[in-house]
Symmetry: C2
Subunit: 228 residues, 2 copies
């Protein structure tokens, strides 16, 4: 191995302007949220760095960033692990998410433009289509997009950012959830009602619906965590 050169073998393409550690943050977050790096699994720096094609330095910076978001936990002198999916913690996160989504609902009813609502409606119909076909992955994709758009409509980037961080913790549970048809149908119905409330700009009602929706999601996740 060439030991003189200090330029990495797979140098980032010239088109790519982003910083390496930012790319690593996103890739690592995806690996964790998608479940490819399982909860409580160790993050071996040498192995991961090789996998991501960087040195350990940017990787470690990315790990610190994600630690602040709560996706990884730092063990002094023992590296980092993917944050565990603890039922207790899950409940806590859902409680906070409930407050944040309720706030977002209120703000969205005030601030969403008609174009925003039309966009959400479009995403909603996409979601319905995948629901009737039983395509879970695509369903989740549109579901997530609706929630994202929702947060965007609230017009508070701090709220959106805070929500995104906590949501990442929770999202990981989806990929292990064995969604029953009843629960799924119910969730879709709730989405119907939420859309209706938004159209009517009924913030109070939307808040109630969002809380219920989250409570049901929590129940699903707890079921999934209980049956391993």
């Amino acid at each position: 191995m060439d030991v003189v050169t200090h330029t990495p073998a797979n140098v980032t393409s010239l088109a790519e302007r982003r910083l390496l550690h930012e790319t690593v943050i996103d890739r690592l977050r995806d690996l964790i949220v998608q479940g490819e790096l399982a909860p409580e699994s160790k993050l071996n720096e040498r192995v991961l760095a090789e996998k991501l094609g960087t040195s350990r330095t940017p990787l470690r910076e990315a790990i610190k960033f994600l630690a602040s978001e709560g996706l990884v936990e730092l063990l002094p002198n023992r590296g980092a692990v993917v944050a565990a999916l603890k039922p207790e913690k899950m409940k806590e996160v859902f409680v906070v998410l409930g407050a944040l989504e309720a706030l977002a609902g209120e703000l969205a009813c005030r601030n969403a433009t008609e174009t925003d609502i039309a966009e959400i409606r479009a995403l909603h119909y996409h979601m319905l289509a995948h629901h009737v076909r039983g395509e879970l992955t695509d369903y989740f994709r549109y579901n997530q997009q609706i929630h994202n758009k929702f947060m965007e409509c609230a017009g508070n980037t701090t709220l959106a950012h805070t929500w995104r961080g906590l949501n990442a913790y929770v999202r990981r549970a989806r990929y292990m959830a064995n969604l029953s048809r009843e629960r799924w149908d119910k969730a879709v119905k709730e989405h119907d009602e939420m859309l209706e409330a938004l159209v009517m700009r009924d913030g109070a009602r939307l808040q109630v619906l969002l809380r219920d929706h989250l409570a049901n999601k929590l129940a699903m996740v707890m079921e999934a965590l209980a049956t391993p």
Copy 2:
């Protein structure tokens, strides 16, 4: 300068078990919150590392951590700066803090033990003492402790953690606020009422009081930001 040895000059004491980058995170956060590192000031890695007695590596890791908390902003290829105190962002943060504190109030009314309440009452009286003597710094210290204890009583560490991060952004404004006596008196009165509501375990009332209290805080901060 000795160029052979790789052990740092001021080696951490053997009693110290914590990791260097964690110490750096806390020290750096303090420097920022306390205003010693002013908003929008550049974080020169060489200078800061020397000041904190480490190399650039743990410092950079700490900076990434704080970037995720929103206390510093990363400028690609141009390092990091202390996050600006933008009025617009300040409003956003206060809106989210409002939702989080309202939730905490509700939970605290349910979960606080009598001992917790007694402790808050004790802190409250300390705060009153410093208020009548016009000792602003000590007043702020106890004020902060009350809010911390409050969050602790809610019994949701995720909530507490999320709140702490956003609160750090806001706290920096305090040190530039020229608190008028009226506003100060009003804030103290609000604290009186909040304590009363907690004692009565009146969650609904406490939520209203907290929202008002935060709204007044925001008004103070906006005043301070508007008059430089």
